[in-house]
Symmetry: C2
Subunit: 153 residues, 2 copies
DNA sequence: TTTGTTGCAAAACGTTTGCAGCCTC
DNA sequence: GAGGCTGCAAACGTTTTGCAACAAA
């Protein structure tokens, strides 16, 4: 189901991107990509920064700078869910997936649906060339739904 | 196609909501709702605040406060597109629509697609009770696509 | 050698909060 | 009259920026 993409291939994509855009191949950038590769699910800049600090000396500014580059070459996806901070997730070796967001507790769950994906991706536009999409379904998770029932009397 | 919802009806929804939640019916809140009603398309807190200032004395804090209430009673929808500031749009007299977002210039265009809406809304989940959704399609708008072709090669 | 990138700290940004006074209820 | 709501300004937390030192090309 999940197509494995080797880290070597990912690095190559990044290297090609850096070369093409005349950006430098600094060790910091590869170190950050490495940590992201090891990550499962969502993360934010702060979390990534703290993971980096465990065994690497970087600044938060560099983390943001690198995230920007990775975003640009489509190796990661950015989500602005809560409003407070941005969430990121790697876009390689990951099927396109959709998000269920509980409007009560804010919890985010992912799901994949091939049929739905086909429906969305097959939609063509006269003057727009779509490359990817994100679908957010808002509602109540099981727990919050139950909680609400209790308070309603 | 577009179902007109009278402002009176909208006000009533808001009034009911305020009453039910034991919030006060202040003139500021209705004045803000009025300006939103007159609005077409997306807006943000700052823009709304400036419009208010033209003929009403309010603080930005009250604008945010009221937006929060309107969000809670589902009269408006909040989008976190750019990352900088939140975008809002009224949810009344407006069909559920999807968004095309140009990753180059950031322009947002809306479209409706009944078939797609049905596909998404009919998806059921074992432990999640979805109430609404937002679909963002990312890609290149006509203009940016043309621009990119020129710089290439 | 050139100049893009770094770490650091300070600034910027949208949004939230604390507080005294005001005004619904 | 009680307490929710207001305006104001200061605070917040995430992200960006300015700058001198550094290092990739």
């Amino acid at each position: 189901m999940k197509e494995e993409v080797s880290f070597e291939a990912v690095k190559e994509i990044f290297t090609d991107y850096l070369k093409e855009h005349k950006h430098r191949k600094t060790p910091e950038r590869y170190a950050i990509l490495e940590r992201i590769n090891a990550f499962e699910g969502h993360f934010n800049a702060e979390v990534l920064y703290n993971i980096m600090l465990k065994d690497y000396r970087v600044s938060l500014a560099t983390v943001y700078n690198t995230l920007e580059l990775l975003l640009d070459c489509k190796l990661i996806i950015k989500h602005q869910l809560g409003g407070q901070f941005a969430q990121y997730e790697k876009a390689f070796g990951n099927n396109t997936h959709n998000h269920l967001i509980c409007t009560s507790c804010g919890k985010v769950k992912e799901f994949t649906d091939k049929q739905l994906r086909i429906s969305i991706q097959s939609r063509k536009f006269a003057h727009f060339y779509s490359t990817h999409y994100t679908l957010y379904l808002y509602g109540l998770c099981h727990k919050c739904k139950a909680k609400l029932k209790n308070t309603e009397s």
